[in-house]
Subunit: 213 residues, 2 copies
Amino acid sequence: MALEHAILVSLLERPGSGYELARRFDRSIGRFWTATHQQIYRVLRRMETDGWISVEEVAQDGRPDKKVYSAAPPGRAALAGWLREPVEPETVRHELAVRIRAVAFDDPAALIPEVERHRDGHAALLARYLHGEQRDFPAPDALDARQRLQHVVLRGGIEYERMTLAWLDDVLATLHDLAGADVDGRSAGPARTGPAGGTDPADRTGGSAADTP
Amino acid sequence: MALEHAILVSLLERPGSGYELARRFDRSIGRFWTATHQQIYRVLRRMETDGWISVEEVAQDGRPDKKVYSAAPPGRAALAGWLREPVEPETVRHELAVRIRAVAFDDPAALIPEVERHRDGHAALLARYLHGEQRDFPAPDALDARQRLQHVVLRGGIEYERMTLAWLDDVLATLHDLAGADVDGRSAGPARTGPAGGTDPADRTGGSAADTP
DNA sequence: ATTGCCTATGCAACTCGGTGCATAGCAGGA
DNA sequence: TCCTGCTATGCACCGAGTTGCATAGGCAAT
């Protein structure tokens, strides 16, 4: 669990209230670590009792008071320790890949609209990243340490979106091709690849193709 | 929640017991959808009571009996319906990105070993994917629908690993560069980028660089 | 002989994370 | 005027998912 650490990083970059953190998790940090305000408030309370962060109540006019949190020395120490721990191997949850494999047992055309929607979303995100890069890192040779680290993370996001976009085009081409090949199956619901239910024929997949996604 | 659907796809590709499914989730399907045996057994029971799958008790010699599950027509129908639902926007949990940003408040060299380990893992996985592609899809023009779908998913995995590998090299170059630049900070623990705790200077990041990862 | 691993299934307890709802003052538009 | 939306924090509940443990026979190696 790294939400504590994501919050610590965010608070080190700039102190803020739970509400402000929640909005940051909708924008910046949220691109690679999501969290709802509920979770953030709960974790903030725990971190405070653990001494990782310190609070300051700030009265405001025209809007409710807020609690501004800052990273405390124990929090920094915890972060430093965390950086030296082994990286856990990222639990993967790639829903689209499951759906693509599922389409073998249904109409390939059924998935096309959703893949296109997905594709457009990634295209928009890539455009946003590239715009942000132009704005924030116009001179990549004159950056301090923190900016260089932010830039390398951003480059990762850009390359990921580029790669995903190209792959989704590949997927779409494949789906269109398959949908065009068997026009008769277009209207049918399930049960088309195999004769009926149960075991499918030509099922050599278990140990070969299924072994590598 | 798509574990049901991942299991359905796996059972359609080949019927099997909970234990067999668990092992598949360690290898093939597990590359893009992880699950422990506990979860699988629980979900299998629920799917069975819902009529999505059917069971057959199989006695074995020399090892415990097993329950072999197969996808039933209602399961196929549920899968077809799922394929037409909107794709939920993938909750991102990219721990390494958080760590890279965290390193701005600690020693950049501290992260290098873990990034290298990570890099080697991705290199090994890429090699495995490429080997699997050679083995299972030597003639990409002569594939049936299911194989073509499996191949396009595999291509996605390959491109993802290629991209990740290049990016991790980029990250390593950046970290080495930063670690070489401030040799004085090498041995220090936390608290080096900013003067002490609290708010860091040059904190224009909140709305600019922080806005795009 | 004992240790450890593999097959095969399952219970119990827990944490993590998300949804829905509540409060409460203020601002702006229909 | 009413409705919506923003700031700001929080409770209660539920489902998903993990960890630890249990059982139980058979196999292989030390």
